[in-house]
């Protein structure tokens, strides 16, 4: 966009449009004012001429002549030329020696110019034909009226020019401002398109429409940048986390080709390679699964589930592992049968199972892991607490990212995808995922407000048999 594009900017066009509208309305207003003033002044003069002359028409000619001579002496500047002429237009009396050149209409006011006292001046006059055929003529100098009209016209012209100049200047200034901002925005967009995602559209200090739009777009750009950074982070993490097992796989296969001599050794090498490949595939499956859960497509399979029942199953499932690691694992609920909600039983089991698995993994021998479901103040949820090392406060956002693993857990097995899945499942079920410190250890809570559960539906859904039937119906095919 160049400065030559100024006339095509909306703000310039708008300014010019308003300038034109203002100009036309001002012109009409001034025209009306001019017309009214002129009419008023002319009428005033005409009325006076008529009033003064009317007296003469009622008198005899000799008396008129006599009066005119007297009057002529009283008006030495000849502001009001008058005279009486015979029917052929010859001068009889008065301070006007010849009738004006233009044809005279009797009993009607008219305007004419007269060389008088050395220069031409405008006059308004009126003529009467007496019964004797003589012509009476009266007039008045209207120089002052014309001067006033000239003044009005000049004021209008100068005002118009001034308004036009200021308006055009204003239009150019606003247009230039818009052009400059649009040039800035275009430049910023071009840089964003070429990959500079940190660039933002420039804003003016004002709170104009364009600025509001720019603010919205900048907000969107913030989101896009964050998402791109997340995607890039995930891509980097995938590349990094998959390189290790793939390198091990390659190394194992190369070693097998170099050193292996017997069929048994080959079989062992192949088995190792299969195990590594399975681990890589497992990571991909977990990623796809998180994506699937995040898509929300699983919501179609929601049934009524009981958090308490699922949590009890999870605890029972993990009990032998906890026992082996010397960790005490317990389940507790203060609201048996009241923790019902709509959800996918398998996903919920998997999410709680991931939390319990983590808690057992990070608890020291002799530690204890507690799973508790609760229903209080219209909130239902499940909390998994342990007395392990806990999650540092500044890491709480980060642990939800795919592949994120705390530094001290790098040596333990796991893909770093567990909590991402928990977060995805929680979001799908409208649950809030919270981390609290349990001094020592941590407490992870999934909780939600029951969705308009009336007292009747609560009592009818207390019996767990319904849930059990649901679960069995879903998995009766194996």
């Amino acid at each position: 966009m160049r400065l030559t594009d100024l006339p095509s900017t909306t703000s310039f066009r708008l300014s010019v449009l308003f300038l034109a509208l203002f100009g036309v309305s001002s012109f009409l207003f001034f025209g009306f004012l001019f017309w009214q003033t002129t009419t008023y002044l002319n009428n005033y003069i005409d009325e006076r001429l008529e009033r003064d002359s009317r007296i003469y028409t009622l008198r005899d000619v000799p008396e008129v002549v006599q009066r005119m001579r007297t009057h002529a002496q009283r008006d030495p500047n000849n502001w009001r030329p008058f005279g009486i002429f015979d029917a052929s237009g010859r001068y009889i009396a008065g301070n006007l020696t010849t009738l004006p050149q233009r044809p005279v209409r009797f009993g009607e006011n008219f305007e004419f110019r007269l060389r008088w006292g050395g220069h031409a001046a405008p006059f308004r006059g009126i003529a009467y034909r007496l019964e004797t055929g003589d012509i009476l003529f009266f007039s008045e100098n209207v120089d002052a009226v014309h001067a006033f009209q000239d003044l009005l016209l000049k004021a209008m012209a100068w005002g118009g020019i001034l308004v036009l100049a200021i308006g055009l200047a204003g239009a150019v200034i606003t247009g230039l401002g818009a052009v400059r901002q649009i040039i800035g925005i275009t430049g910023a967009i071009e840089r964003i398109v070429t990959g500079d995602l940190a660039k933002r559209l420039p804003t003016q200090s004002g709170a104009g429409d364009l600025d509001r739009l720019v603010h919205v777009v900048n907000g969107m750009l913030d989101d896009i940048e964050r998402l791109m950074r997340e995607v890039k982070g995930v891509t980097d993490d995938i590349a990094h986390d998959l390189r290790t097992p793939l390198t091990r796989l390659l190394g194992g296969l190369e070693r097998a080709r170099r050193r292996t001599t017997s069929t048994e050794e080959y079989a062992i090498a192949v088995d190792e390679a299969i195990a590594e490949t399975k681990a890589v595939l497992g990571t991909f499956s977990a990623l796809l699964r998180i994506a699937e859960v995040e898509d929300g497509a699983r919501r179609a399979g929601f049934t009524t589930i009981d958090l308490g029942r699922i949590s009890a199953d999870v605890v029972e499932f993990h009990a032998p592992v906890a026992e082996e690691s010397g960790v005490s694992l317990s389940f507790d609920t203060d609201a048996p049968g009241l923790t019902q909600m709509s959800g996918d039983p398998s996903l919920m089991f998997e999410a709680i199972s991931n939390l319990v698995d983590n808690a057992i993994k990070f608890s020291p021998a002799g530690g204890c892991v507690g799973v508790r479901t609760f229903f209080y103040q219209d909130r239902i949820g499940v909390a998994v607490s342990d007395n392990g090392p806990g999650i540092p406060y500044h890491e709480r956002e980060a642990v939800l990212r795919r592949f994120h693993r705390l530094e001290k857990s790098r040596h333990t097995p796991g893909s770093g995808l567990g909590l991402s899945l928990v977060a995805a499942v929680a979001k799908l079920h409208g649950l809030t995922l919270m981390f609290d410190s349990a001094y020592p250890g941590s407490c992870v809570t999934l909780e939600r407000e029951p969705a308009e559960q009336s007292s009747t539906s609560a009592t009818s859904s207390i019996s767990p048999e319904g849930v059990e039937q649901e679960v069995h119906a879903i998995s009766s095919g194996a």
Binding site: D271, I274, L281, G282, S285, A286, R289, E292, A297, R298, A300, G301, T303, D313, E316, F317, H318, P320, V321, E324, D344, P345, S346, L347, F349, E350, S353, D357, V471, H472, A473, I474, S475, S476, G477, A478
Partner: protein, 227 residues
């Protein structure tokens, strides 16, 4: 030989399934579209059918399945699908499917499930006493004995053993155990089921008896009479 019909439009997947089933001694035939599958399954008697959920040519997997059931073909059907949502699975089973496997799957998982489907038809469910070698379970009293000695099992261990006893000599994958015994469905990637099986195995083999539960490299177990 046991004949299995594989209905799968993707030739590469079909070839892999055929190879895996072939390795386990099945005689495999392939159909690439729903109409072809219907024509073949009605004429020939297959022992089992592996059916892809999505098929080209207007006749999709579920239509094939309900048509077959309508025509009185009662061969066990395992549905393959890329759709893992719970209601998809329920829909598949309601249409007359016997099992449902989500793609991608491991060949061991597929063959183990086919074996179980075939054997389920062979062994009636009404037994009250299950016996494998010197191990016997009284289903009514819920009593487990090995070589006459009573074994005390936790409820979950009992259900694991019962499921294995109903399919003796067959590979049972961890996923199958998880689905059948815990009634939840997802790809269990932890070693928790191995720990459960380890405890069960220790209880069964207590007293220096030879092990009855063998681990299959990869992802499963077999219950066999001890030699």
């Amino acid at each position: 030989m046991t004949r299995v019909l594989v209905v799968e439009d993707d030739t590469q997947t079909a070839a892999e399934i055929a190879a895996a089933l072939g390795d386990h001694g099945f005689d495999v035939e392939c159909a690439a579209c729903g109409q072809d599958a219907l024509d073949r399954a009605v004429v020939d008697r297959y022992a089992a059918i592996v059916l892809d959920r999505m098929l080209p040519g207007g006749v999709d997997g579920l239509t094939v399945l309900s048509s077959l059931r309508g025509l009185g073909v009662d061969a066990p059907v395992l549905i393959l699908s890329a759709l893992s949502a719970v209601d998809e699975r329920v829909r598949g089973l309601r249409a007359g499917g016997d099992d449902y496997l989500t793609k991608p799957f491991e060949s061991l998982e597929l063959t183990a499930r086919i074996e179980v489907l075939l054997r389920r038809r062979a062994v009636p469910d009404r037994e009250t006493m299950l016996r494998v070698g010197d191990l016997e379970v009284d289903l009514l009293k819920r009593e487990v004995r090995r070589s006459g000695r009573a074994i005390d099992l936790l409820p979950r261990e009992y259900r694991l053993l019962e499921y294995l006893l109903r399919h003796p000599g067959q590979v049972i994958t961890r996923t199958m155990l998880f689905e059948e015994v815990w009634s939840y469905r997802y790809d269990q990637r932890t070693n928790v089921i191995d720990v459960h099986m380890g405890k069960l195995r220790r209880k069964l083999d207590d007293g220096g008896l030879p092990s009855m539960i063998q681990t299959v490299r990869g992802s499963g177990y077999i219950l066999r009479a001890a030699d």
